[in-house]
């Protein structure tokens, strides 16, 4: 017991059973060294705990506002639109959290990523033009550059030269079309990121959106789903 740092801390926390507490009481009466250590630790705890503060009301509102009208995760979705609505909210807010200069779309300064996305959507089988298949595009301004977030009911086809990021039929893939990088996810919902930015930047955007990228899952907390 003597000089037992963990035991003294447990005693100070009141995190010991009655027998141990009684034993510590007896010991402390006769051991100046442990008494002094306990007293110093108590003062340190008091000073540290004085830094504790309540979360500002504005932060509480900011956190809460994101999840208003967002469906519960894990619930089966009848249509992609439900997930897409969530993705849009998450996209804008999460990107804002990471990139200071993110803005919601309001006209595209850089049409090339949009053109690449639409050409890719047009490569899919089916008679209808891409705009009638529910390809929904949002522009994110990441560090002054446009990054297109495209969502769709149907998967985007993997173009020639694309690199799968995992050995999985639903694996995300990376591709390059001229100056435009593409990063695509097909599971659970098709999401395509495109922009005149490096694959690394698109990967960071995906991580900021809460999308797990194989080999780049930076959350690491248990229970975080893989892409």
């Amino acid at each position: 017991m003597i000089h037992d740092d963990a035991g003294l801390a447990a005693f100070l926390e009141g995190d010991v059973d009655a027998a141990d507490a009684a034993e510590w009481d007896d010991h402390l009466l006769s051991c100046d060294e442990c008494w002094s250590a306990l007293d110093e630790a108590r003062r340190g705890r008091e000073m540290a705990s004085s830094l504790r503060e309540s979360a500002p009301a504005a932060l509480r509102e900011r956190v809460s506002a994101v999840f208003v009208n967002v469906p519960r995760p894990g619930r089966p979705r009848r249509r992609i639109a439900t997930g897409a609505a969530m993705a849009l909210v998450v996209a804008i807010v999460a990107a804002t959290a990471i990139f200071a200069a993110v803005q919601e779309s309001g006209g595209f300064r850089d049409p090339e990523p949009v053109a690449v996305v639409l050409r890719l959507a047009a490569d899919r089988d089916g008679p209808t033009p891409p705009e009638e298949r529910g390809v929904r595009i949002t522009r994110l301004n990441v560090g002054g550059r446009d990054v297109v977030l495209a969502r769709s009911d149907d998967p985007f086809p993997m173009p020639d030269g694309a690199i799968a990021l995992a050995d999985d039929p639903h694996s995300p893939w990376l591709a390059q079309r001229g100056a435009v990088s593409l990063l695509c996810f097909s599971h659970p919902d098709p999401i395509l990121l495109a922009g005149q930015a490096s694959p690394e930047t698109l990967t960071k955007v995906a991580v900021a959106l809460g999308i797990s990228v194989p080999g780049r899952n930076q959350t690491g907390a248990s229970g975080v789903p893989s892409g």
Binding site: D5, E53, A55, F67, G74, A97, Q218, T219, G223
Partner: protein, 164 residues
């Protein structure tokens, strides 16, 4: 519901964020991203450990964000002092702000593992077992770290004329 389970722990998450972020705005961003990440994994987490689970996500977010921005998680600013919302006692407010700044500076001076134990237990209010769950180390290790860190903190401050 997600917010019903997680929002009661906002103060805990906020307090940890304030001590690992480079400034108040960065702390708010970390909190926001923590809740977004938590939302995506909410269904699969252990409901009995929501508080320590949120803190684990926050710390991982801070680490990955620190790697991106080259700002080390745990770096603390001496000027990291909140606004005083008291009535009109400017003198007391200045003293309180000065004391907080001194404590923040002293905290920054102790070893990182001990500092983190103090942040999680004494400032955020987690139990030793919750900290052990969060950090993935034995409870006894957490208790030993917090004990040594508290003593160093007190000694450092008392050398500079502060005593609770």
């Amino acid at each position: 519901m997600f917010l019903d389970s997680t929002l009661p722990h906002l103060d805990v998450v906020h307090n940890v964020a304030r001590r690992v972020a480079r400034d108040a705005d960065h702390a708010d961003d970390l909190v926001q991203e923590t809740f977004l990440r938590a939302f995506s994994a909410f269904e699969s987490h252990d409901r009995a450990r929501t508080r320590s689970w949120l803190v684990a996500i926050l710390l991982n977010t801070a680490r990955s964000d620190g790697r991106r921005s080259r700002v080390r998680a745990g770096e603390l600013l001496v000027a990291d002092v909140p606004e005083h919302h008291g009535k009109d006692d400017v003198g007391d407010a200045a003293v309180a702000a000065g004391e907080r700044a001194a404590i923040v500076a002293a905290l920054a001076a102790i070893p990182e593992e001990q500092r983190l134990a103090i942040v999680l237990m004494d400032i955020a209010g987690l139990t030793a077992q919750e900290v052990a769950d969060t950090l993935g180390c034995p409870r006894g290790t957490v208790l030993a770290r917090v004990h040594r860190g508290r003593r160093k903190l007190a000694a450092h401050l008392e050398r500079n004329g502060m005593r609770p």
